[in-house]
């Protein structure tokens, strides 16, 4: 079903000439005029196509439930969200947890902790634990994507919550899943990674807990997050696999797990758009394209 050469040719052609993007943008605009918004259709759209950047934040907010489906509630709910942000921030300032020079990512973390009743005692502030570090990395990337601090906090908060609630149980299985798909795409590479002991040293946390935050530059990252936010964590496996395939030659030449881990954690930043495009194609190939008509 995914192997439709005609369609592939056509989309490759449109992509070059820029038609495809225009048509997709039009159909998204039609969806966004619905009142109430059809969240299901919006996620299907986001699974199938890249979101035009001018609508990305808005669609993310709807998909993550920051904005409700009814457009005429948006201004009211936006006010509630902003007030909630201000209330929590003001309390943290009053408690001297944060001040004017606190980095925005740390502010996000403390606000998140306060709202989850997990704020550590100020006298016992320790180094951020692993979970906090994942949160901070995601917040850092989101901050690059989103200008408005209120939107940014809400997006990080809901992204992390949704990711953990929806995919928490699947995450531990993703490395196995990666191994499975890699055995089909490139068994030689897999064999090498296994034999050299590198397979277990792959940066799984960076890939599957931070969703590539801090690994891919934001322009590429947001296209991956489109898929995660609209309901797929499998995409992470295919991005990971495409990274491995792209740097196969280099990886085949490495025999020490540390070198592999080090290389992959500090991935060259120039090739990433192509990696994401190919990863999305692979993902559609193995998992199918969502078929809801848009």
């Amino acid at each position: 079903m995914a192997d439709d050469p005609q369609r592939n040719f056509r989309s490759a052609y449109y992509e070059k000439v820029g038609f495809r993007g225009v048509e997709e943008k039009k159909s998204l605009e039609i969806l966004l005029k619905d009142n109430p918004l059809d969240v299901e259709k919006l996620s299907t759209f986001s699974q199938r196509f890249p979101l035009p950047s001018m609508y990305r934040i808005h669609v993310w907010k709807v998909l993550l439930g920051i904005l409700p489906p009814h457009s005429d509630s948006h201004s009211l709910v936006t006010r509630y969200r902003a007030e909630q942000y201000e209330d929590v921030q003001a309390a943290l300032i009053a408690m001297r947890f944060v001040n004017a020079s606190t980095p925005p990512t740390e502010l996000c973390l403390r606000m998140f902790q306060l709202e989850n009743q997990q704020l550590p005692r100020r006298t016992e502030l320790t180094q951020p634990d692993e979970e906090d570090e994942h949160f901070l990395a995601i917040a850092k990337a989101m901050e690059e994507i989103v200008d408005d601090p209120v939107d940014c906090y809400w997006l990080v908060r809901c992204f992390v919550n949704q990711f953990n609630n929806k995919f928490g149980d699947s995450i531990p299985h993703l490395p196995k899943s990666l191994e499975h798909f890699l055995s089909q795409e490139d068994s030689r590479l897999l064999a090498h990674l296994k034999a050299s002991g590198c397979l277990s040293a792959l940066p799984y946390s960076l890939w599957f807990r931070r969703c590539f935050a801090g690994c891919l530059p934001e322009t590429s990252l947001q296209r991956v997050w489109d898929k995660v936010i609209s309901g797929s964590c499998k995409i992470l496996v295919f991005v990971a696999m495409e990274i491995l395939l792209t740097y196969k030659i280099m990886l085949m030449g490495m025999n020490r797990p540390e070198s592999v881990a080090n290389f992959l954690t500090n991935l060259p930043q120039e090739n990433t758009d192509a990696i994401v495009t190919k990863a999305i194609d692979l993902w559609h190939k193995y998992c199918g394209t969502p078929m809801h008509s848009v």
Binding site: H70, V77, Q84, D87, M95, T123
Partner: protein, 59 residues
């Protein structure tokens, strides 16, 4: 259509309740912080009230 109105109302109420719940978390955090500060004050300074209780007369 009725369902639609109900859904909309529910979403608005949820957002409003979220804001309220956040305030509750804030209250709790502030109370914890205040408690800590008071106990620090009591340990470090002889409180005017704490200085005068009759020995053995603690209630």
């Amino acid at each position: 259509f009725l369902e639609d109105v109900k859904c909309q109302a529910k979403a608005e109420l949820q957002a409003s309740e979220g804001r309220y719940q956040a305030q509750r978390c804030v209250t709790q955090a502030l109370q914890t912080e205040l408690l800590q500060l008071y106990s620090r004050l009591e340990m470090e300074i002889p409180m005017p009230t704490a200085a005068s209780p009759p020995p053995g007369g603690a209630t």
